[in-house]
Subunit: 588 residues, 2 copies
């Protein structure tokens, strides 16, 4: 393989165009093989092989700074910058992150995983360069899908005014994760149709110089273009038309489902995994909403560029018709839209991954909660055990949401309780409601599920006991059940077991009643402790004789952690929790 001799950008620069084309084939082969074993972002990486080779051929990384948006398309970049082992040696597949990571290489400048940030971050480097009187190229790479995010727009608006070198490569593969949504995409289409010549040009209207490249998968064309703009003294957008998933037919044919892939069989394109799946809350939610939409035209499901977060695949989107809205990657707008819809008498349900809800704090507070409009937010994968890339951690949503006034954040413990809460939330008109969709093991003991969750902040005592009370929220209720059972079997203690249901408030009545015959209260939450649910219980009991133990994760950014080790380190196993409780009880 020609790739065998390429270990750095310097090696790329030695090759002829013909050899670069061979290199791109070698890399693509590696990528497909690794993706088939390891999974990962498929479409984005396959589409960017040529662009990345041309970039390293023309520019001088790390002197020139390349900043990838989301950085889920950086595999070729990693291969060319000293990390190819992680792509050709199956034993090393796990040795690098799926995103840019400065600790791996001086060619990476930021840890990036959320969308629409590259232009802003890169423009900061450009400004620093100018202030320090240095000279180098700063290149931000952003996909068309990422353009819909407000931060990208803010960054472009700023970058256009830099009186110096600032290169923005817009990788236009005509796709977000799913199809694009938003008025700007008509302009991108017009630019493609006119080979970049249309007078009405979004990027020029924002103040950029502009260049269009119709064949963004042609190395020679790209090299010529990059040579032309290298060291340019002003901000320019290079709009490149590429093919998402290029070189692997299933990925080219079905761009949405191949945006990110699990391990698959290369020949057939079929996923390797099958077998024991837990409850698929995502698809079930879509089907529930589709059923309700039939009889209620005012129900609207909203996504911010990730339609399958709520199970809305292409087929279900078609079924929902006007009652499904994809706003593009634009969580801020999604929340404000939901507030407007609720105000207008509709019943909006915005589904979002825990890691992305934090992109809309101000909108949840101002647009939604100050206005107290009855929209429903469904927070998916909120758990210590879901995504474990540092950029996609799903355990900060409780501190984020539970401290916003007016919001009711519910934590169902099992699917039946989820349906009851979702149903109530959609039907009621008093509160903005968020629901932390269960993740992980189902509770077994929750019976007599209520239909109505207003008035708010009423905890449910599931088992009455003494000495110890366990307040186990949402997906950790099942952990609470196991702890209770262990306390009983091992120590003969019958603890009180409570399903708090509400993460946003305290049930003073239930909590005060515990003071009578309890010594230790343990709170369990499937998230970070700082600013979360348990601390509210600690504050409540702090002036009393009751002792409280808060179980959850400590505040830290962790990356690609082993979940079992992580839980153990945070005292989040049945045995350690029981031990901690017993120790606390003995010291009482």
């Amino acid at each position: 393989m020609l790739l065998d001799n390429v270990n750095s950008p310097a090696d790329v620069k030695k090759l002829s165009v013909n050899e670069l084309n061979i290199l791109s084939s070698d890399i693509r082969e590696c990528l497909i093989k690794r993706l088939s074993v390891n999974g990962g972002h498929c479409g984005p990486n396959l589409g960017m092989v040529e662009m990345t080779i041309a970039l390293h051929y023309v520019f001088n990384s790390p002197t020139d700074k390349i900043v990838f948006d989301v950085s889920h398309q950086c595999y070729t970049h990693k291969i060319l910058t000293g990390r190819k082992e992680a792509f050709i040696n199956p034993q090393k597949y796990k040795s690098v992150s799926g995103y840019t990571e400065p600790s791996e290489s001086e060619h990476d400048h930021f840890i990036i995983g959320h969308t629409s940030t590259s232009v802003s971050l890169a423009s900061g480097m450009a400004k620093a360069r100018d202030l320090k009187g240095e000279k180098y190229n700063v290149i931000a790479i952003i996909g068309d899908g990422s353009l819909s995010g407000g931060e990208a727009f803010e960054g472009l608006d700023y970058a256009a005014e830099l009186n110096s070198n600032m290169i923005v490569i817009v990788n236009d593969n005509q796709m977000s994760i799913a199809e694009n949504h938003g008025g700007i995409y008509k302009n991108l289409a017009l630019l493609r149709e006119t080979n970049g010549c249309a007078e009405c040009n979004l990027f020029k209207a924002m103040g950029f110089d502009y260049m269009y490249i119709a064949n963004g998968n042609n190395i020679e064309v790209l090299i010529n273009a990059f040579n032309e703009i290298k060291d340019c003294n002003h901000p320019i957008v290079v709009h490149i038309n590429t093919i998402k998933g290029k070189g692997y037919k299933p990925a080219e044919d079905n761009k949405e489902s191949w945006h990110f892939c699990s391990p698959f069989d290369i020949e057939s394109g079929k996923p390797q995994q099958s077998g024991g799946k837990s409850i698929d809350y995502q698809t079930l939610t879509a089907d529930y909403l589709l059923e309700r939409m039939k009889n209620d035209k005012s129900i609207v499901a909203i996504t911010a560029g990730t339609p399958t977060v709520m199970g809305f695949d292409a087929k279900r989107r078609e079924k929902a018709g006007e009652q499904f809205v994809d706003v593009g990657i634009a969580e801020e707008h999604a929340v404000a839209l939901a507030s407007g819809l609720a105000k207008g008498g509709a019943k909006p349900v915005f589904g979002v991954y825990s890691t992305f809800i934090q992109r809309a704090y101000d909108q949840i507070s101002q647009d939604l909660c100050i206005n107290n409009n009855p929209a429903t937010l469904l927070v998916f994968w909120g758990s210590l055990g879901s995504m474990n890339d540092v950029t996609h951690l799903c355990f900060f949503d409780i501190p984020l949401l539970s401290n916003i006034p007016n919001l009711v954040y519910l934590a169902p413990t099992c699917i039946d309780e989820y349906w009851a809460m979702l149903n109530w939330s959609i039907n009621q008109t008093e509160y903005p409601v968020a629901i932390r969709v269960p993740a992980g093991k189902e509770a077994t003991k929750v019976v007599n599920i209520e239909k109505c969750y207003s008035p708010i902040n009423r905890y449910k005592v599931i088992d009455e006991g003494s000495d110890v009370a366990i307040i186990a929220a949402g997906s950790y209720f099942s952990l609470g059940e196991r702890v209770a059972s262990l306390l009983s079997s091992k120590y003969g203690i019958t603890p009180t077991l409570i399903n708090p249901r509400y993460l946003t408030g305290i049930d003073k009545c239930v909590l005060n009643s515990l003071k009578e015959n309890h010594k230790v209260i343990a709170t369990l939450e499937d998230g970070v402790l700082d600013g979360g649910f348990g601390e509210k219980i600690s504050r409540f009991f702090a002036p009393s004789d009751i002792k409280v133990l808060n179980f959850g994760a400590k505040k830290e950014f962790v990356d690609r952690y082993n979940i079992k080790e992580f839980l153990r380190a945070n005292h989040l196993t049945d045995e350690i929790i029981v031990e901690d409780i017993i120790n606390c009880l003995r010291n009482s």
Copy 2:
């Protein structure tokens, strides 16, 4: 006055153009008089008198929905929709909010105070209308300054694709609070210069139909234009050129300082207030930074559209030159830019009001803190006692920031400590740092201020005592001093007094040492309790015998509150705190 006979939009519709012009004079006179007594948003309101009259003449509010961005220009709207008493009768001046407020009138649809939200909110109403098969106009009004915010862009991108009535009025007065910054403003200028005819058109590039009105302060022109687009069946931007501050010469002449005004003398334009001012941290910060900039070209002050938050008035901006950056109203970009600057070796300082820092949670977490870049965020007015409009509350910043990993959130208690912390933050390269700039009374007892704040999370014991320890953060340190003094004088208790300095972490060593001879710990923080600083102390002591009382405000949205009553209701006076401590001590 002609205004005497106008009590509703229906009355406006009865008038001739000539009478409407007289009405606009009447209203402007009222506005200037009220502003001179009451203060408020001056420039935005004076510029929009004609537009608002024309709007109510042509459209049928509240059937047609009008949504104002920031809603700081809604005074004329309030006058025309049944609330004129609050503008003509000095006794009633305080009877309405300075923003739209649905509880006041069916003509207001949202409580709005933050920027860039109107298009998103209005598009939600438009979508609800369409789903329900209703017919009415939805009109979003947004200023040119607000266009720089990402949420506005996300909203426009979405709204452009609605296949139905959606009217966006862009009020272009060529100003944000200060001058505009960003590439889009060149396009707005081009559109104004070409009377809207330039081919390259930002709004068309986003998918909108477009209309330009050169004289946005001419009622007849506006009426004709609005009649033309009323009931239109697709999204359209009406770009209106207006004069900010129109009709009051000082406001027209100095648009920046008349954006918002304190009470003033109408004749001279001079502010009425003078007298006893507390320390002006804003101007002092600008002067400090300007001094440091002289010797260090890598220091950059950043603002998101509010340059005077850090004291950078026009004169100081000029002095700072390239070392001052106004990104427009774009907090997300400001934070990401700061991260990029720090990565590039510069020393960025982003100054922002507490209420607006929440617009950038994801950027602080992802762009800045995961990357651990050494930028400095200065949070101004973080206090229960600063802005008291519900949309501008400044007391959620501790829960917001203190639960983000890697961030060091410092709370200086007085100006000397502020300088020490700011100096350290700018010079160090280990941490992203936020500083809660003091607001309110200065501490008196803080001596031996340290120069270095690394390693982090070391609390400072100011006075050693027993039984009671008071941990008083930042601007509430002076409250802690008063409480300590009262405990001593009234009850003979000598409490330990602690300046925690760090809001983002626990000093286990100091806290553990308190266990020896203390029974009650009181935490004081100038913000909301939920998710805040005190709860972390409660969690720490929860498994021990120590009792903890957290003092701060309860989680709620309050509007135009009387600060004294508010503090009393939240047990935040010296006397009540002492009483609570004594009660807790007696129960120990």
